[in-house]
């Protein structure tokens, strides 16, 4: 991120924009909390918060991987397809026990991530097209493996989807654990530094001798693995494997969460806390509109407005 983009002519406007980009999402979440506390009956209940958190968990997990990809000035459109693929594979291999099925899921996801990473890092294809190919192909493969919806009756999966530890659902624990893990990786590890350097200026990173190709491969593999975790958790919660519609438009929800959270599309920065808040903001917005009997179409239009506002606040900061 360079300071050149900030024009000296309008320092106040730039400062407001900067503040909005950084903290706007938290202000938005706070505003929705206040509005809901005042207007929505039964909003301030543990039960409601648990429901909202469980619903947001899969989007959040996918958004973590997306934040990494966007941090390298890339994007991963294949995450929804990977969710569908992991649902099919889980249904097919659950006969060998949950650990065995999870292993196969991880292998499939890693293969998709490696393919994405190889196209982006080794061949030099733009991330949008590379992951678009895997998105189309991955969804097709998921449906080839498992042509229609299949109920899953497995006690281990059932407990994964609806069980809890000391009253906190496993879904929330897993999502929280992954948030901490990814935040640690971005902030405190060499990998995180290298990732941000590549996103900031790939040529400079290359000239500085950073392992650009390896880091990019790892980023896309991580994104696919996180999407697979989200796919398995969503399947466990549904108690059914649904390769046709699971994860549809998930890539867009995840990108929205990341962008609304203040991560610029131009790379070089990753805001994990912002991404969490972004996912929560979209979830709260949807829940608020539904609770007040507004039609789902309003949710989409409201989401569109939030996205435009978020990028408008961040404008002039990135190169694109």
């Amino acid at each position: 991120m360079t300071g050149i983009a900030v024009r000296p002519a309008a320092p106040d406007r730039a400062r407001i924009g900067h503040w909005l980009q950084r903290y706007g999402v938290y202000a938005g979440v706070g505003l929705l909390l206040v509005v809901n506390t005042a207007l929505t009956p039964h909003f301030l209940s543990v039960e409601n918060f648990r429901t909202q958190a469980v619903q947001v968990a899969p989007v959040l997990i996918v958004a973590l991987g997306m934040a990494l990809a966007i941090g390298t000035e890339g994007v991963d459109l294949s995450v929804g397809a990977v969710m569908a693929l992991s649902a099919s594979v889980t249904a097919l291999y659950l006969g060998y026990g949950l650990p065995g099925a999870l292993l196969v899921v991880a292998l499939f996801a890693a293969a998709v991530g490696l393919a994405n990473g190889a196209l982006v890092a080794l061949v030099g294809v733009q991330p949008i097209v590379a992951t678009l190919a895997l998105m189309v192909g991955g969804r097709g493969l998921a449906q080839v493996l498992l042509p229609q919806l299949e109920d899953i009756r497995n006690p281990a999966m059932a407990s994964l989807g609806s069980g809890d530890l000391l009253g906190v659902p496993y879904l929330i624990l897993i999502a929280a654990g992954l948030v901490l893990l990814v935040a640690f990786a971005v902030r405190r590890t060499t990998f995180g530094r290298q990732l941000l350097a590549i996103g900031d200026n790939r040529t400079a990173a290359q000239l500085a001798g950073l392992p650009v190709k390896r880091v990019l491969m790892v980023v896309y593999v991580c994104s696919a693995l996180l999407a697979a975790v989200a796919g398995v958790l969503a399947t466990a919660r549904l108690q059914a494997s649904d390769p046709t519609s699971l994860g549809n438009l998930m890539e867009l929800s995840a990108i929205t969460a990341v962008v609304v959270g203040g991560t610029p599309l131009s790379g070089g920065q990753v805001r994990i806390a912002g991404t969490v808040a972004g996912a929560v903001l979209i979830q709260l917005l949807t829940a608020t509109l539904i609770k007040h009997d507004l039609p789902p179409s309003w949710t989409q239009m409201a989401q569109a407005a939030v996205i435009v506002l978020a990028v408008y606040a961040a404008r002039g900061r990135g190169r694109r």
Partner: protein, 354 residues
């Protein structure tokens, strides 16, 4: 088919490379292109006509392999079902040549169809003008946000995609209502009728592509589209009206998506609300397969037509095999897209900077 190719000859005036060292593809590459060796020419040829070669080979093979492939009925079915995607891909080609992207076209396609079907009760003029006006306006707003407010095309058109889908659901009582196109109306004739044995949507598509090729290759506007995609800053320094050109391109993309949706609704005799999901990606795939670079500055409309036909022939061949589930079509399309972009990137390697 019009084969006016927009890459090597009438390229925009070469951008002064020293102004900005990292011109991706496009104008700067064109400046180096003349006088280079045979390998360069061969790779450029493969990049431009590779999809056409694959299309010819695949069509020939399918004609030999399946009795029911090379029939008039099958060809005219394929032509009509390609027409709507092709019109969307035409607008997308212009957008991608400027270095942008338009994710809203799938939603605008569905919205255009619903508006046309709803408007058909008030006569043909309303049925045709309403989708064009609404979708064109949404495209215009996209363009304004991208060119004037300088927001990323990817994210602006993503928001427009959500907003247009929301608008469509509001109009149709959350998707519960389907409006029908009145039988025997001019709109229905436009969608379902044929002249000289060729369906009207196909005629319209051919006319639009001919016009698109001429605009891109022979007008000042087309030259600016290439110049902006090649190097936007250089284009601005040369005095090209960058913002106006980009706004026009996005408005036209929205307009064409709305038109395609209206024609599709006329063809189906109803405005189906669930159409168009994923169409933006299909259109992008067709444009990229047709040899247009996503980095901008390089591309041509006839390639996009070939890309659309290729996707539809693949789909048709998989249907012909019959025993294969339709999901295989997605696997093949995805794999094909991957192969195409790998080949393109390798062929164009010398044109790229890093």
């Amino acid at each position: 088919m019009t084969t006016i190719h927009g890459t090597s000859k009438g390229a925009p005036p070469p951008a002064p490379e020293e102004l900005l060292g990292d011109a991706p593809g496009g104008a700067a590459a064109e400046a180096r292109a003349p006088g280079t060796g045979r390998g360069e020419r061969l790779s450029a040829l493969a990049q431009q006509h590779g999809a056409l070669a694959v299309l010819v080979v695949l069509t020939a093979a399918a004609s030999l392999g399946f009795d029911s492939f090379a029939t008039g009925d099958n060809f005219s079915n394929m032509a009509v079902s390609s027409a709507f995607l092709a019109i969307v891909a035409l607008g997308m080609t212009f957008v991608i040549i400027t270095g942008g992207i338009d994710l809203s076209v799938g939603s605008l396609f569905a919205l255009g169809g619903v508006l046309a079907a709803w408007g058909s009760r008030y006569g043909t003029v309303v049925a045709l003008l309403l989708p064009l006006a609404v979708c064109g306006t949404i495209g215009l707003v996209n363009g304004l946000l991208i060119a004037r407010a300088r927001l990323a095309p990817f994210i602006v058109t993503l928001a427009a995609m959500l907003a247009a889908r929301g608008l469509l659901l509001t109009l149709t009582d959350e998707g519960a209502e389907t409006y029908l196109v009145a039988e025997g109306s001019f709109l229905a004739e436009l969608g379902q009728g044929s002249t000289l044995g060729v369906a009207h949507p196909v005629w319209i598509t051919v006319a639009l592509f001919a016009a698109g090729a001429v605009v891109l290759r022979r007008t000042r506007f087309g030259q600016r589209v290439y110049a902006i995609g090649g190097n936007e800053d250089a284009a601005a320094l040369m005095g090209a009206p960058v913002a106006r050109t980009k706004i026009t391109v996005y408005a036209v993309s929205g307009l064409l998506a709305g038109l395609a949706g209206a024609l599709n609704a006329a063809w189906l005799a109803s405005g189906v609300t669930i159409l168009g999901a994923g169409m933006e990606l299909e259109a992008i795939a067709a444009v990229v397969i047709g040899g247009t670079l996503l980095t901008g500055g390089l591309g041509f409309v006839s390639g996009s037509l070939v890309g659309v036909l290729l996707l539809k022939v693949i789909q048709n061949v998989i249907n012909q095999i019959g025993s294969l589930d339709s999901a295989y079509q997605q696997v093949v399309s995805g794999a094909f897209l991957a192969v195409v972009v790998v080949a393109q990137t390798w062929l164009g390697r010398r044109r790229r900077v890093l």
